[in-house]
Structures are given as C-alpha cells and as structure tokens.
Subunit: 622 residues, 2 copies
C-alpha cells in the first residue's frame, strides 16, 4: 500500500479533510471487496460521506475501549455495507490495513461478510434487513431509561429496507418514547438488489412517513458534507428521535458504476477497481480521532439480591403462566431484569411485573418483532430481558430470534397459550409450532414446565442461562405436582411414577403430562405398569433418564400438544438414537386442524388425551 | 327468541332502519358470546354501526352464492369480533339464530372463536392481528390485475393491530398499486386487550400515517351512520385505496361496559347480558338483502396448457435455484400461475418469470410478510402463487405461513440460499432453520432437490400440490444427476448408489447429497460399500426406501446443511420409529455459529463434508 497522506482527523478538522476521509473509506471499500472477490462496494460508496462526517465530528466513541458505558453506539442496519464499516474501523486504527485486505470475508476471520459482535465494536449482527433501527431503539431505551447513560445511538440503514414493516414498528416506538438519543440515517441511494427501490429518490415521502410515526425528519443531500454535518448536529441536540433522509448515489465517486443497475453485491473487477481508486484520488492513510465519550453515569448496583421463589401448594390448580408471572416479579429484585410485553400482559402475566416494577417494564403493543428487538437492544447493554407473548405470535419475531442467536444474545422468551389446550379461541391462537421453531434456534434452551413450582423455578433459572432461552407455558390451571424443595436443573427431568417392573414409559410435558398421569392410573387399573417422566427440559434433554427408561421398560410413549414435527417426540428420538436405545415407540401429537372446543374435547380430537395415551401404551406392551 | 320486528332491509332502507340492524347485531353479539361463555362482545359492539351500514348499502354480495366471482370480499382482520361477523351472517340469512346460539365456539362446529374458511363466506382465517389488511391487498390485486373482476375488498380491522408493521407493509402496497378497489375500516375503539392502545383516539395520527403510505384517509365518527355511509360511498368510488378511520366506543350501546377497561374478551354475565339486551332495545329479527354483485367478467381461460419441463444435461453444473427459475417460466403457460418476489429475484431467479410474464409477477420489495399475504390473497381467488426469497428470510413471514395453513391455502414457497453452503455472506443470509419451520406447518409438503432436473420437476409438481408446499434450493451450482426421463413423485426418493451387500446408507439432499456421493467414492476406496439415497421429498418421506435401507445395510448416516433440530435427521428418525427400524444411526448437522468462508471450508467446519460423512460411515460399519 502506498500511503499518499498520513494525518489524523478530529472534530476540528475542516470538511475538506473529512472529504478526504470519505474518499479513503471509498477506496478501502473497493480494495477490500475486490481483494475478497465478493461484497457490496457500491452500497458502501453511497454512505461514505455520511459516515466520514459522523465518525469525525459526532460519534463520541473510544475505539480502544468499546466497553465504555457512555460511548455512542453505531449500528449498521445495512450490514452488507460491511466494507465501509470495516474501512471506518481501519481509519479509527481499530483494524489494520493488512487485516482488512487479507481477511475480509475469509474463513476463520472476524471481518465477515456481514458484521457480527465477534467484532468488539459491533453490538448486533445485521444482514437481515429492517432490523437495525429496531435494535437501535432498544439500545437507546436502555441508555436513557434503564442506565441513565449519555450515549447516543446512530443507525445507518438502506432505503430498500424501509419496506420492512419492522422499521415502522420501531420508528413508532422511537416516537412514542420521544427517544432524543436515537438517530437513524437512511442512505437513499435509489437502487436495491434487483433494481430501483419502490420510492427511489422520493425523499419527501420518506420524510412524511417518518414524521407521521412521530420522529423528526431531516432531508439532506448525502454527499453535501456541510448539509450532512448540520443534520447530524441537529440530531445530536437530543430534542427528538431523528431520521436523516439522505439522498445519495449508489456507487458514488466511481463514474463507471455510479447510479447504475446491476452492481449490487458485486466487487469491482481488478482493472475497474484500479481505475476507481485512481478516480477516488488513490490510497490514503488518514486516521480519525473523533469526539470522546462523555462522562459515564455510575454503573447501577448489580447486586444479585436473593430471589425468593413463589411457593405453591401441591394439588392446588395453578396455571404455569400464572407461576411465570409470580416468578418474574420475584426476580425483579435483580436490577438487571426487564420485562417486555406485546399487549397481552394480562394473559401472559408479564403484567404482574409491570405492577411491581413499572420502570423496567416495556410495552411494545402488538408488535412482536419490536418486542424481541428491544429485548435484544437491552441485552446488548447487559440487561436480562424477558419478552412474552402467546407462543403462536412469537412466530412473528422468528427472524429477529434467529438473528439474535447470530448476535449471541442472552435473553428469555416466554410463549403462553401453547397447544390446542387453549380451547374455544381456536387455531389462530394455538401455539403448535413453537417448539420446532425454538429448538432450531442455535444454542437455545427450551423449557416446558407442567406445574407451577417447576414453572417458577425455571423462570428464575432462565435469568442465568446463556443464549436464548424459551419457556413454554399453558393457559389452563393444573395441579401443582412438586413441593418447594424440588429443584429443576436445566437438562434434567422428573420421574413421577416409577416401579421396579414398569412395562412402558410415558414421556411428556405441559398439559399432556397431566394426561399421562391420568393414563398411568387407567393403565394401573388394567394391570399395566407405566412409568411417567416429566420432560420439563426439552433442550437440552435428559438423555440418561430416557435411555434408562428405554432399557428398563422397553417401550416409550411420547405425547405432546404440538405438531408432530420438530417437537418433543423428535427430540426424544434424537436422544435415543445418540444413546443407541431402541425401545418400542409411539409418538402422539396432533396434526389435524383443530377448531373451537373445550380442552378435553380438543386434546381428545388431537389424539393426545389420556385414553389415547393408555391405548398407545397397551399397544406397545402387548 | 322473541322476534319484536321482522322485516327486510336493503340498500334503500333509511338509516333509522339501519340503526335497528346495528342494534340487532349488538344484541346477537351479546347473546352469542354469553351463551358460549366466551368471546369478545365489546369488540363487536364498537363496530356494529360500521358493519350495519356496510352490509345494507355497500357490500355487493350474494350470500347464497359466495362463489360469485364478482361479489365483494369482506375480511374481518379483527377476527376476535366473530360475534359481530356471525350476527351479520344471521342477518343475511346465511346462518340461523339457532346455529348462532347453540354452536358458537362449541366443538365440532363451524362458528369458531375466530373465523376460518370452513365458513363459505370467509376467505381467510384471522385471529393473528395485523394480517387482514395484507390479505385484502392480495385479494384486491387479484381482482383488478389478474381477474379483471369488479369486486371490492373491505377489511375491518382493530386499532390495536395498527401497531403491527405488517399493516404498513400492506398499506404501502395498496398505495403503490393505487388499489381503488380496496378499503380498510379501522375500528378505533381506544381500548386494546390489556389497556388503552398507544394512540387511543388520536385519529389524526392514524390519518397522517395512512396518507403518508399512499392511501386516502377518511376520519369519521363510527357511530354516526350518516358519516359512515358517506365515507363508505366515497371509498367505493374506486379512485384510491381508502382507509376509513372510525372513532368508536368499545362496548358501545351497553352503558355498563362502554369505554371501560377490563372487558376485552369477556362475555357479559347472564344478568348483565339481559340488561344489555334491554338497553339495546331487545331481540330483533331483521333481515338484510344488500346490494347485489355487479356483472362478473368472463372467467379467464384456465386451460392447463402442456408444461414443457426445462432439460438439463447430466453432469453440467447448474444451481437448483436456476432450475427453479426456468421451471417457473415453463409453468407460466398456465394462466393460474403467479410469482411474487421480495426484491431478491435476481438471486432466487423468480426474476426469470418477471421477464416472461410481467403481468403475473408481483414485486413486494423487502416485505416478506406482505409477499406471503399477497400470495394468500391470490390463492383465495384460485391462483397458484409461487412466493420466493432467501430461506433465511422466509422466517419473517412465519406467522403468515402458519395462518395460511389454518386457512387451508394452497401456495408454493421457495427458499433459496439454504445452509452454510452460501459461503462468504455469512450466517445472517444462511437458511439453517427453514426445514424445521416448514415441516411443522400443518399439512405442508417439503421438497429439497439436489440437482437441476429434480428441482425443475418438483417446481412444476408444486403447482398441483394441495396445501403449502416448500422448495428448498441451493446457491451454488452442482452436477446434474438425473436425465430428463426421471420422475420425482412427492414422497419418493432416489437411490443413487446401491449394491447387494451395502454396509451403510448415506441419506441426504441438497449440497450434502453431493458430499455423500463423494464420501461413497472415498469409502469405496477404503473397501466400504455405501448406499446413497437422495431424499428429495422431506415431507412426506419415503419411509419404504429408508426402512429397506435400514434392513439391508443396518446403518444410516443422515447429513443435512441445517441445524440438527427439526430437519432431515429427525424426519428420518420419525420414519424409522414408525416402521420399527433400528439401524445404527449417525446424524451430521451443523450447530455451531458459522462465519464467512468458502463452501468447502464451511461444510467442513459444520461437520457435514465428505470426510466427516465417510468417517461417520466407517464408525458405523466397524
């Protein structure tokens, strides 16, 4: 690399110098992606001026101490513009030119195709568009309302992603909360992946939408550094959540590709890259020392006050969702616990937490994507969020949950009203796919308690489970099975009925565990001895107990109030396959479309009631 | 039931009569939910005036011939207001008072807690909020742009659900397409499930948002029948997509619950119901004969012209996504085939269809929920939609896919860029949960071709598969395995390597099938005879071939480029369990977080490359 200039820019540098930095970011974006043979240089070129001004004059950040609690946050919602982000890292001295040029998009290295928190300057993984603004709102809420830290949140997003509804859920919340510490910058470069965007350069429409959703809109020429600087300064006044609508040119600065279709996600061929670098003024080696973070507020006391578990009387009929609510309140003594609701808190019982700890309760209304995104943003700041809605409606947030796993986020999700058990409301409200969804989340923990005692214990345990944990709860009230002395380690199970000469094992969790217990009684009357296992931990699974049951009883009936695919039955089969167990096996799970009805009618119609379980057990024993 | 009045209302009835109808709808909503012991009467009362005016004067519909292609469509996005909808059905003479009073929300009956298409007057199941507008846009698009039918689409939605981003994706499309045949009516009753909505009665903000998204907003008092009538008439002028923002009172007409919190989703107790009915003027028996449907356009020719499958040369390297695009174009001779894209058509190759059949191609931009909802709306009208994006991004639409299954919709989804195979773009773009998601969809068909010939054949087959079918395709190009003479029945498989004394069977699909073939070659050199099965149909599965392989070879290695949960491995285990087969079994699937890299590097890091497969096979053979 030939360094044509070496100097350090700072907040006092004039805009002609900042322009040189912007050109350097462009050159390095071209170089990095051409050297990698893939990437999105043109999407980087459009936003280079915006980012050059931001990092030089407005982003209050210590690149050597990204953990500084007062430092600003920068989220690249348009994660495909990673060449630009990494070029900024280089300008900040955080990564070397060598790392940029030899590791970008290569195996085993941290400068991936889309940014992930493997990089210490990245809060959240992006690359699924329409998510960055939502995360940014969560981080900004945490800063202002939970931490009292002075940081600002800046989100760079593309114009294509403004078509995602999640963006509008998020801006609505930014407006509702009057998040003055939040700024989004839309890089309106007119061209999406496959052609022009819907609104192209109609910046007025973007502005009208932004304002209708309660945010301040500032329309600028994204290549006029003076205008950009003024807008960023206005945004930083903290008076309102701000969206800078910046009209830009995709591929700006490289005449052969500027504003041309067909260049999305393509590195410039080497000869074109050479001409581009020349047109951009050649390789530079400018360094940036932007504004320092402000003084941090004192870190809040994070003493883990003793959590006193709610206690329940064995035999009392209490819904697991009720126990969840009580346990969440009990957890509230820990100041890192926050709760989020999508306007069903009176059903999920997250509302109990609101009453006890209103300052750590966040209502996103019926916007499940935003609920999960806010939880992610708060988790980024070290909080332990519990986000709750009906199990069925968590499917709305599937992509956010998936990406949270890429970000290695730790958070707790709770889905209530699982299964056909809910009764008269019918199939739209029944979570019968949630176990499949949540088991397939990388590194997830999936818990499914059958009684209030275990539900409360597992709710509390989730606060200390790394990664994404999921609690599945049930609408109806069922007898408490366990005394308060019982413990429920993750990955464990409870054998509720057991004899020396059991002939079959009934395995389940939730409402169908109670059906298994009733089935065991039926079977006993018929002379069949059934073991019953409460598989409250679905992932990880108690493989030992299952292998033992397979060996000792030779036959398993697995029952679940869930579709047959991806749930408890298949989890058990995977476990048995690993342990080399080959018991007789019947899997009971409903696959037909349920309607309205009572719980008993619907369990029976789904083939998962006590009589079906007893029949299946007998068929195995014979 | 005491009928106090019996007369028939029609378009010429004056509004005092329509008010009586509205009161009847209220009374019947109260009666039905109280008799059922559950339901949402107060959410019905707020919208009764709106619906009374609509059905009497504006909804051009033949209740005796819901299949009339010119008849208007009414979608209850606020599906929980089913008492109101069913009271309308009664007023229209479509259901009897007895059915309403004795079957609502009862087991085995069609008047479910939330409406489903089991009812001939219901197009789509609702109950997951924020979906009705999106479906309505799809139906309206079909009517105007595909069928040339004169029908209008009316959607009743709640105010709470306006917090869902999907609503804004949909209104954006209504505006973009200038859908003059589309009207949404927002019942702004101020109260959600657990408390006041975010915007309460701020109808101006709703109107500003609606207008910013390109629709006409009409703000009315939802209980002033004259205002409502005028707005509905304006909406019906067809000049613009219209949103009527109607300020209403939840529980309107029953003073003990009107505008009071704590009454969402609760039937009135019997004594209160009695007082309510009295206050509402008692039980009536009014009938409605509203406007007739206009003259229908002639049904389009639906001749299934012969589809000529694209042909590929064995050994040529062609990506399955490319074959999908070519097959989709071939299918285009069928006029019922439509394609939808979420702005990645140049990657998924749905763009090929756009070039060939631009009139049947719908670009939703990056709005996957809307893409699936539009597909559902078009399927309602008898079209066969193919909606395509990256497999990873289909998770965005999970709730819409789930609900489409409740609606018994037939549509084809295609997810491209599956697995870590995609390489340098990294984990945000990798679909590694999609098989779990799609297998768990009720009644779904899941297909995963390994070569261009099978991809094309399966793409064409999907047009005639009932329910939701899913095709998983791969980014990279791999050798064509099959000649054009091969057929690929759903539920089948192909045994690609087979000998009389095979010692192990390698089972896979997609890129990892090619790794299995390479592993079989490696194993052969090491003296191990491996069978190889191409499991192109994941759901249903070829249980016979698997059981035979288990019996004949005694050992199975199942490999997939997907997370371990809910995918091919567990599908195979379920099948083996059903057939009582107990082969040695190893499941190879990646569970660690991948980064960027080449396909070979990433497959190897995930433990699913040829060497891992060969190692696993040898471990079983020993």
């Amino acid at each position: 690399m030939t360094s044509e200039q070496t100097s350090t820019l700072g907040p006092d540098s004039d805009l002609t110098e900042v322009f040189e930095l912007a050109q350097q970011l462009r050159v390095d974006s071209v170089r990095a992606s051409t050297s990698a043979g893939s990437g999105h240089p043109t999407s980087s070129l459009s936003a280079a001026d915006l980012m050059a001004v931001l990092m030089t004059r407005h982003l209050r950040y210590d690149w050597n101490a990204p953990e500084n609690p007062a430092g600003d946050h920068l989220v690249f919602s348009k994660g495909h513009a990673s060449p630009l982000l990494y070029a900024m890292f280089k300008a900040a001295g955080a990564v070397s030119d060598e790392e940029l040029m030899t590791t970008y998009r290569r195996f085993g290295h941290r400068l991936q195709g889309h940014p992930t928190p493997e990089l210490p300057w990245v809060d959240v993984a992006t690359g699924s568009l329409g998510q960055g603004i939502a995360y940014g709102v969560g981080i900004a809420l945490a800063g202002r309302d939970l931490e009292d830290q002075p940081y600002r949140v800046w989100v760079l997003c593309g114009d294509s992603e403004m078509a995602e509804g999640s963006v509008w859920e998020a801006l609505d919340k930014a407006g509702q909360h009057k998040l003055g510490n939040f700024t989004a910058i839309i890089d309106v470069n007119r061209l999406g992946q496959s052609g022009p965007t819907e609104l192209q350069w109609d910046t007025d429409t973007y502005a009208r939408r932004v304002e209708a959703f309660g945010c301040r809109a500032l329309v600028v020429d994204g290549h006029d550094l003076t205008e950009v600087d003024r807008a960023l300064k206005t945004a930083a006044d903290g008076s309102a959540p701000t969206v800078i609508v910046a009209k830009t040119v995709k591929g700006r600065g490289v005449s052969e590709v500027a504003d041309k279709e067909g260049w999305h996600g393509k590195p410039l061929p080497e000869d074109l890259a050479e001409r581009a670098i020349e047109e951009l003024g050649g390789v530079r080696d400018l360094r940036v020392e932007g504004p320092r973070p402000p003084k941090a507020a004192p870190a809040p006391a994070r003493t883990n006050a003793g959590v006193e578990l709610p206690r329940f009387e064995k035999g009392d009929e209490i819904a697991t969702r009720v126990a969840f609510g009580k346990a969440l309140v009990a957890l509230g003594v820990r100041p890192d616990i926050v709760a989020l609701d999508a306007e069903v808190g009176n059903s999920t019982h997250s509302e109990d937490f609101k009453k006890a700890y209103p300052d750590r309760f966040f209502q996103t209304y019926i916007a499940e994507q935003q609920m999960v995104a806010e939880a992610v943003g708060m988790a980024v700041r070290g909080f332990r969020p519990y986000a709750t809605t009906f199990a069925a409606f968590l499917t709305r947030a599937h992509d956010f949950i998936r990406m949270a796993a890429v970000s290695d986020i730790t958070m707790a999700l709770c889905g209530t009203h699982s299964g056909v058990e809910i009764g008269a409301d019918g199939p739209s409200q029944m979570g019968v796919e949630d176990l499949a969804m949540m088991r397939a989340v990388r590194g997830s923990t999936v818990l499914y308690p059958s009684d209030a005692t275990s539900a409360a214990a597992l709710t509390v345990a989730m606060a200390d489970i790394d990664g994404i944990s999921y609690l599945r709860t049930t609408r109806g009230a069922y007898p408490v099975l366990y005394g308060s002395e019982e413990t429920f380690p993750v990955g464990g199970s409870k054998t509720l009925r057991r004899g020396d000469d059991d002939q079959v094992t009934l395995v389940s969790a939730g409402v169908t565990l109670h059906e298994c217990l009733a089935a065991a009684d039926l079977l006993a009357k018929q002379g069949v001895r059934a073991r019953v296992i409460d598989l409250y931990s679905i992932k990880p699974l108690d493989s030992e107990a299952l292998a033992l049951a397979a060996r000792e009883t030779g036959a398993l009936v697995v029952v679940e109030d869930h579709h047959p695919e991806g749930g408890i039955g298949e989890a058990v089969l995977s476990s048995l396959a690993e342990s080399g167990s080959h018991p007789g096996f019947v899997h009971l799970a409903g696959s037909n479309l349920p309607g309205s009805g009572t719980t008993a009618e619907l369990l029976d119609a789904a083939g998962i009631s006590r009589t079906h379980i007893a029949d299946a057990a007998r068929s195995l024993v014979k």
